[in-house]
């Protein structure tokens, strides 16, 4: 028990939590935007892989870091467009399309990586985003290191949460997105093109997901490995439900999961001698299932989520 409290008191734990949470924030917000418009995007796992690979590869081929992030976002948007063509315009199953996108996008990422770097035996490295210490604030005990000695991409992640909230809940376009997820016929009846709104939302959301993936190879680590997204996309899908489709609660849920993840790594080290490490690996997932059961029971999901909209169809 005292070990556990020790963990909570180290700055390293909090710094790790904030680092782990960053890709989850991007991914969860991306999924949230898609689902608010009524489209489930299970392509997230693959789109994050695309973002991780393409952003990293951009920098490795000589581009700079920020254009790399932008490139990753564009690639994400392209796969978002693909998802939207199938689910929004053709009205096909969002589950099947999403899983197809995930398989296709991750395989394509690995394929392109191998094509461009056929000879690499150990994964080559880039110079990733470096931590930026915010003057004065970074000198604070514990919080200073955790919150104010992070990379620019992490600061961006924390900044994006209120931005997404503002756009969704305080601007006309956000209203159109939310309404498309609640009742697309109402959007149509007000003279707005539902298909365009949904397509746009899925593309923007997918761009967010790809940036989340790019964070892993460009800020957290400095190389691209196969399988490095490792289910984070699926966690984001669960976090959206946990968050009841609200950006603020999404941040909270992502922090909770990231904290558990950071704890388990440290608990492995301190208690790994007598408890198998797999047990600790499992913990964050068990905890998120439990949290989902508690939090998501009475949640109000978007009424038109998963419901395709077809113009001019006889009802």
């Amino acid at each position: 028990m005292s070990d556990f409290i020790d963990i909570l008191l180290t700055a390293g734990f909090w710094a790790a939590t904030i680092r782990i949470v960053s890709p989850l924030i991007f991914g969860t917000l991306g999924e949230l935007i898609c689902e608010r418009a009524g489209v489930l995007n299970l392509g997230i796992e693959g789109i994050m892989t695309v973002g991780a690979m393409s952003g990293w590869m951009w920098v490795y081929q000589g581009g700079d870091l920020w254009t790399g992030v932008l490139f990753a976002a564009c690639m994400g948007a392209v796969f978002g467009l693909l998802h939207a063509v199938f689910t929004v315009h053709l009205g096909l199953s969002q589950h099947v399309t999403g899983i197809g996108i995930t398989l296709f996008a991750s395989s394509l990422s690995y394929f392109v990586y191998r094509m461009l770097l056929p000879d690499a035996t150990t994964p080559p490295k880039i110079v990733p985003f470096q931590p930026i210490a915010v003057p004065w604030l970074s000198d604070l005990p514990i919080i200073g290191e955790a919150l104010f000695t992070q990379s620019a991409l992490t600061y961006l992640a924390l900044l994006v949460v209120p931005m997404v909230w503002y756009v969704l809940f305080r601007t006309p376009v956000g209203l159109a997105v939310r309404m498309s997820g609640e009742n697309p016929v109402a959007v149509e009846a007000q003279g707005i093109n539902v298909l365009a709104v949904r397509t746009g939302a899925v593309m923007v959301g997918s761009a967010f997901m790809a940036v989340g993936g790019a964070f892993i190879t460009m800020s957290w680590f400095d190389a691209f490995y196969f399988g490095m997204i490792n289910g984070r996309g699926w966690i984001c899908v669960a976090l959206v439900i946990f968050a009841s489709w609200r950006p603020g609660r999404a941040l909270l849920g992502a922090l909770l999961f990231a904290g558990l993840e950071a704890i388990q790594v440290r608990a492995q080290q301190s208690a790994g001698a007598f408890i198998p490490y797999q047990f600790f690996l499992m913990l964050p997932y068990v905890m998120s299932i439990l949290a989902m059961i508690v939090m998501a029971r009475k949640t109000k999901y978007p009424q038109a989520l998963l419901v395709p909209f077809r113009r001019g169809e006889r009802v």
């Binding site: 601007t171 609640e182 009742n183 016929v185």
Partner: protein
Amino acid sequence: MSNPPVLEFRGVTKRFGTLTANDDVSLTLQQGEVLALLGENGAGKTTLMNILFGHYQADEGDILVDGEVLPSGSTQAAINAGIGMVHQHFTLADNLTVLENITLGTESLWSWRQDQANSRKKLAAMISDYGLVVDPDAMVSELSVGERQRVEILKALYRDARILILDEPTAVLTPQESERLFATLKSITAKGLAIIFISHKLHEILAVSNRIAVLRRGAIVGTLETATSRREQLAELMVGRTVTRPKLSAIKPGDLVLEINDVSTGGTGATELKEIDLTLHQHEIVGIAGVAGNGQGTLADILSGLRSDFSGTIELNGQMLAAGNPRAIVASGVGRIPEDRHARGVVANMDIWENLISEDLRSDEICRAGFIIDGAGARVRAEKQIEDFDVRCKGPDAETRLLSGGNMQKLILARALSNTPSFILANQPVRGLDEGAIAYVQEQLLEARKRGAAILLISEDLDELMTLTDRIAVMSHGMLSSALPTGERSIAEIGLMMAGHGDQGGAKPGSLADGH
């Protein structure tokens, strides 16, 4: 009448596959008038309005607003031309506020903020101008049906509509709410707007409109001045022939058939039953009036065996009802006509004979060795039922989904009534049917009554209840009033009780006192 029309249809034709939904429709609408569009279900009224509002594209013909051709297939163009539509099925998002529902699409999508202060002011002015009272910050899910309709009207007016289309606006309202709507419509036309009022209810149309266009099978069969029209003349135009609905003949009630005693389903929601008592006798049709969603569905589910989570007792012919066991309930002599033909009445993708045997798979006629279906036997029986109940189809092997609404309902009647049930649950049995089919269904129910069945008729149509029942009870918020002989309460009184205003005085909690 020499003013140019604000709206003109010129030869509009719309086909869905082989079905011609609108056939060369030409119409004009003048400023400040209410034009009623009268027609049976399926006559093409809604299709025509959906073309006007840009939901559908016409195959032929033009629509002119103020003399200019309206681009087809664009809702945006229709809104910009000043057309507002109140859809029959409201186009509102439940989890958003009234204000959000109304302002959607009124501001540029790319502005960085919503001008809420301004929209609030404009909305408040319209609410007081037209008397359409509703709280702008309420969630739509919290509103009553009448309030939701007001939001829909406000939505159209907010966008400066000059032509307002109302598609079956009274279908979901109590008589008092309808009166209030009619008053609103008067104040709207007084301000120079033109209204198209779609309905199949003759008395409403005669009450609110200036002119009437009658639509039958997609074509305009007559345009009349309301002042000089008679009800019978309109009915005949609409149906294409004279159809008289059957009337109740006096029969003395017989033995007790169904006794519902103190049935509650727990919970406080509007659809949860609260201490319901009701008795039905042989040769008796008892009607339940009420606005949809006040517990009628729950009661129907319990009596059909789809729900068993209730307290209290239900006895059928002296035996406890086999709650939660549909097969036993059917076997004990209950005929069920469900509310939604398509969702619960039939399996649309299966054949007619399959649907006909689906309630008694184990009878000797169609079942061999206890588990093998005798296809030939089932078809023989199906053919007889098809003939007895006049189901117009190609035969027992035709697909059920190809049947018209009326024929589908006849199929359900055939299944429910063939083995002479002692109790018949008829939930909205004529909803969405044309006049001919309505008369047929009602005749069959009267036939069953004559034979000695007890019938519970759940309906939202008060005229139907007034002509077809021996007694009427009113359901509101899960509570059921006493069932008084039909005619003892006026339509106005029943309307008040439907709105939940009947329970004054020292009635026991959870029961509706009679409204007089």
